[in-house]
Symmetry: C2
Subunit: 404 residues, 2 copies
Amino acid sequence: MKPVEGGVTAPKGFRAAGIHCGIRKNKTKKDLALIVSDCDANVAAVYTQNVVKGAPNRVTKEHMKAGNCRAILCNSGIANTCETDGVEKAEQMAAAAAQLLGVKTTDVAVASTGVIGQPLPVDVIAAGLPQLVGELSPQGGHDAAVAIMTTDTYPKEAAAEFTVGGKTARIGAIAKGSGMINPNMATMLSFITSDCAISSAMLDRALREVVGVTYNCLVIDGDTSTNDMVILLANGQAQNAEITGAGPDYEAFEAALLSVCRSIVKMLAADGEGATKYLECHIRGCRDTASGRVLAKSVMSSSLVKTAFFGADANWGRILCALGYSGVDFDPQKVNVSFHSAAGDILVCQNGGSVEFSEELAKRILSEKEITLTIEMHEGEAEAVAYGCDLTYDYVKINGDYRT
Amino acid sequence: MKPVEGGVTAPKGFRAAGIHCGIRKNKTKKDLALIVSDCDANVAAVYTQNVVKGAPNRVTKEHMKAGNCRAILCNSGIANTCETDGVEKAEQMAAAAAQLLGVKTTDVAVASTGVIGQPLPVDVIAAGLPQLVGELSPQGGHDAAVAIMTTDTYPKEAAAEFTVGGKTARIGAIAKGSGMINPNMATMLSFITSDCAISSAMLDRALREVVGVTYNCLVIDGDTSTNDMVILLANGQAQNAEITGAGPDYEAFEAALLSVCRSIVKMLAADGEGATKYLECHIRGCRDTASGRVLAKSVMSSSLVKTAFFGADANWGRILCALGYSGVDFDPQKVNVSFHSAAGDILVCQNGGSVEFSEELAKRILSEKEITLTIEMHEGEAEAVAYGCDLTYDYVKINGDYRT
């Protein structure tokens, strides 16, 4: 397996495009993306667990039930959520794209991201669609990644190549993140393509396995969005023998998917709203991975921990505090905490208590852009990782007046 | 019932003092408080549910088991938490105070608040105790309130007078709050005194009832502290017939306790770290009070909701989002949201969707210092309230470098 360029258009048989259609006032910001598979693709998807669900989520979930997908249409700027005619508008988006592409409406997935509770100008989207379809290209993955951005400061794309059944296959992905990010059994918007031949059942299994340890272990601000969605398409153009069960082929596919999704999640964390630092929290020696994830996410969700990292302050007491209110039981007197970055390693807490360390070295380590917290629980053999970022003035600035 | 001055020394038979003993470098900041009952007092207490518990919490819980208390000794600056000799030091604090006061060590409650994971200079506390005991006074409640402050910008005290069994009784309280505030079945530090005669069992019942709807409905930053503690003393000096069961006397006591604790909680919320606005979230028409509290606390915990209030932005979609991920099931299409302040009332969301409203009026309403969010669920008859504040640049500033 190796990383490759091209995002969602890296795999064979996918084209994409991204344009400014007019949802956003800023004409230099693309706001409409389309990803198309040239042939039928098996599809797996996971959606937000928020009780308040975006209209596009409901429509896409219904459309994807048959397990087939030809296109994903996504706008940024307005979330099409909490509007009485939202479902109707999401259906209109899908129907308009389906007509231009000559596919069934139920083969089109739709997604929206942006402000909740504002009316979606579906006529503006419909008017932009002919241009969008005209610009579809096997090199269009990047434009699509740009078009789905909201407060993201850069587009998120990743792709990998791997061998399966003697054939070369690829997986590519794009995503948007930044704020309202605390995925729960689903995620912010992420669209993943593959030319691997794999059954719907195995595709679904791979997606759920990988989402559990990547997107679902990401925390920006603890707010689980109403519009979270990950869609994975596989169109079989790599011409490998279809993967229909466990075995080396499935493992190769899952490993490549994990690699691509982990890359995307790291980009999402590093580009969290207002973030100046990328944080990884590794829990080692926990009883099981489920409780390890709860511990890691509790630490990555703590406003006090996040602000301490912003200030490059080795305030490990806040980390113990966040472990302690996670809901997981453990013996605090067995916990060690250390920090790692390009500037070095430092142990700051041993057996749940203070240990002498150089504040100067700690400051240097915590002043780097990428920091790993390692927490040794000494309770068992399992491990877990959560991904996050610091809490900064800019997070407050960005969200103090997002709508205007 | 009427509010009165005097905080914890408002009830008969209580003296208090607060001094600078030297835990803090800033000599103008008091850092040691003592509250003494002139006779034995029944005691009820609730403590943090964090797995990582401060040493003073463990010692006080043990001491208070017999149901009797004569004194509360509390320092600010260092939390005496996550230190191997923390319990020993907390015991030393209690013993030193007990000796000077001529009471049993187990009749002394101790508490500490401040940085976690730094050694408590118990010798400095012991050296300051004679002065502290010498300054004990029936007017000393305010000094004690000042001495327990950390990043609080003003002391929190409240007291009320009520009639019970034909006698006049009082309840007084102080508290410290500001950060690491998300009480769970207990709270930040709050010390409450009363001269009412009431049995230990009824005292405990009243405290648990009132804490459930006051301290436990307060959110500053979602971090449940390791050192949360509420202690309620009742010394019987009002000479009413002891309250030993339900009835009008118990109801009068509980109503006065609720009034005092609600006042304290409002002060704690308004003075949350970096806060510029006091927020109350009222859930109406929910299925039961328990689910109502979960909904209200979810809204008050959301970083996105809190930053929107900082920016006076009527971004009601974030409120629906936070209700949606609270874990409580409901029909989003029945939800109304309105804002209220001294500048007026405004409905911003009806039946889970947008409604036309004046952005200009909304801005004026949200620019006030005290704002009430009212959320009508239309699911039942119950109500609940949570208390909180906005998330600001100053929260990030204060917590980016708290230790130094």
